[in-house]
Symmetry: C3
Subunit: 243 residues, 3 copies
């Protein structure tokens, strides 16, 4: 893919965001993109190739939001990034003159997404790639769901390099855990503790913290929360506000 | 190695092809290079450092093919890439003025290959590095071998990130599996099924597919063929044409 | 972090040194930096974010040595690199106008270290970031300790991709093992053999070698010393000179 890009746009500066998305983990990729794209300069082209449906009927799409471009499959992987900018505009990529020929059935990253991203980075206007669509696929399960009794059911979006669990409890809505009593059930454990930073937490005990990505995270001071709690990306969490 | 390159050729654009070649896996590296180099623009310098014989008597070589340059040890790792261009020209690297001093006995990547690649990228003529040789080492076992009874014995060249098994059955010669009955034995399983794309295959069943690298691959729809079949790079495969 | 850097210094050339430092492994990071920084051209900015104390009271620092700049936490991670240049000058980073706002409590890599490194790479003078300090944290245990009876106690600084054990026995001081009898105890094994290069060693037997990083290493010809000896970074070693 990088060779294809540099052949079309030699001045491109290539940055790898992550090589650690699990195969077919669309939600994990969506989260990773959502928390990184705004750190890049405007006019960056973000290329995402987590694509369980390659070779099937899913559409390739190109989106514009906040002065950035996004290229990837229409499987929800761009959803979390695009909701940050309601004026996001999504197009179906149809102009095969920007594809690498012949297009294989198994590697659209190299044959469709990479060359389209490179042409976009070279300045080709978005309208040249295809027409607007309004029905792009939305990712399910990225928002916590309210349950009875002041409780919410959420999930682990991502496990980072340190084993921290990034939940889908956004800090804007759930930041009250910093000041109120709560119970958080994850794996076979229940947590009641919130800490402001890693260093102020007791060694070995899991706790909730405000993560740098804007979500509640579950961490262990100098430990690995994922290993300790035996929890991976996709696990369910229940958060309950205590009276 | 990257620091050494940038010290010699500050305008170099560095692209990592793979950090996932197993130690000493010359055939896997050869395959990876063979399937990627032509995607890069002409005048790219490809640097390969899979080198079980570092410190021994194997020669460092510089090759030219298709407008690209290749730098690496003379252990067969360049074989698959160079056979794509019969006019490939191979030289033994002898001009130590292009080496980093002192040359260590254990890290020729940093001390010989990286600085030579950087000087080549900076425009130093190939003839400056050393004279032509005709006897460079050929990699064994990269072509399937015919057996009696319409059968061929091949190997798994590579296992990709998704667990797909890339075989050494080239599509040009073995693409007939798309239309004829066959039996493919790998690990303790026998496959009879060919699918055009991942999505059209039954969940959980291994099948053969035309891979994007130009070889027959063995895959499982949304599964991991390597895990399911308990097969790794280097494993033997028998393909049989049924009447 | 890369997005933040490119937003501030678009012409920066980003090079990843390693993604394989274990979480919180300050000594491993210190070693990795020490053996790589001098290979890069002058005016390189080295950014290190192995930071178990993020959110606590440790200071962010900026150092200058040998024409290079270093940005990271004041936890000893820069120690091994800076001792190579006694004229190293260390400053506490205090100028928050170079930070990304708001500064999170958990990701100083993105919010403090990356933007400071990018501003430094853009040419901002070192004095603008903060005043000189003389009491930066020194890393413990990076030098072998002499014991009675011509013996020294050292540690494994790092295990490389091939499973080689890089010890903290520097070649300048301990290169005598190439010519004299010795006993090296690591894990549950004792070694007595020194080899000049990998190829000249018997298959399967561990031996000592002069590593490319300037330290004694423990290796196995075409094998994995770490697996064979069941030893990881941080393990103790005893080296004894025999009469």
């Amino acid at each position: 893919m990088k060779g294809v890009i540099l052949g079309i746009c030699p001045e491109a500066q290539l940055v790898d965001i992550s090589h650690e998305i699990k195969p077919f983990a669309v939600a994990q990729a969506a989260y990773t993109l959502a928390q990184t794209w705004e750190c890049f300069p405007k006019r960056t082209v973000h290329l995402v190739v987590v694509d369980p449906g390659v070779g099937g009927s899913r559409r390739p799409i190109l989106a514009e939001a906040g002065g950035h471009s996004f290229v990837g499959p229409d499987n929800g992987v761009l959803t979390m990034a695009l909701t940050a900018d309601c004026r996001a505009r999504v197009r179906e990529i149809r102009a095969s003159l920007y594809f690498r020929e012949p297009v294989s059935r198994t590697f659209h990253g190299r044959d469709i997404f990479a060359p389209v991203a490179a042409h976009r980075a070279s300045g080709v206007a978005v309208s040249r790639f295809g027409g607007r669509i309004e029905d792009c696929v939305q990712l399910e399960g990225v928002e916590p769901v309210g349950e009875s009794g002041n409780a919410w059911r959420g999930t682990v979006l991502h496990v980072d390099h340190f084993g921290n669990l990034i939940t889908n409890f956004g800090w804007k809505e759930f930041g009250w855990i910093a000041g109120e009593r709560f119970l958080l059930r994850v794996g076979s454990r229940s947590l009641r503790q919130y800490c402001r930073d890693y260093g102020s937490a007791p060694l070995g005990e899991p706790f909730a913290i405000r993560g740098s990505a804007g979500y509640v995270e579950i961490s262990v001071n100098k430990g690995d929360a994922s290993q300790l709690l035996k929890v991976e990306a996709g696990a369910f969490i229940v958060l309950k506000k205590k009276q």
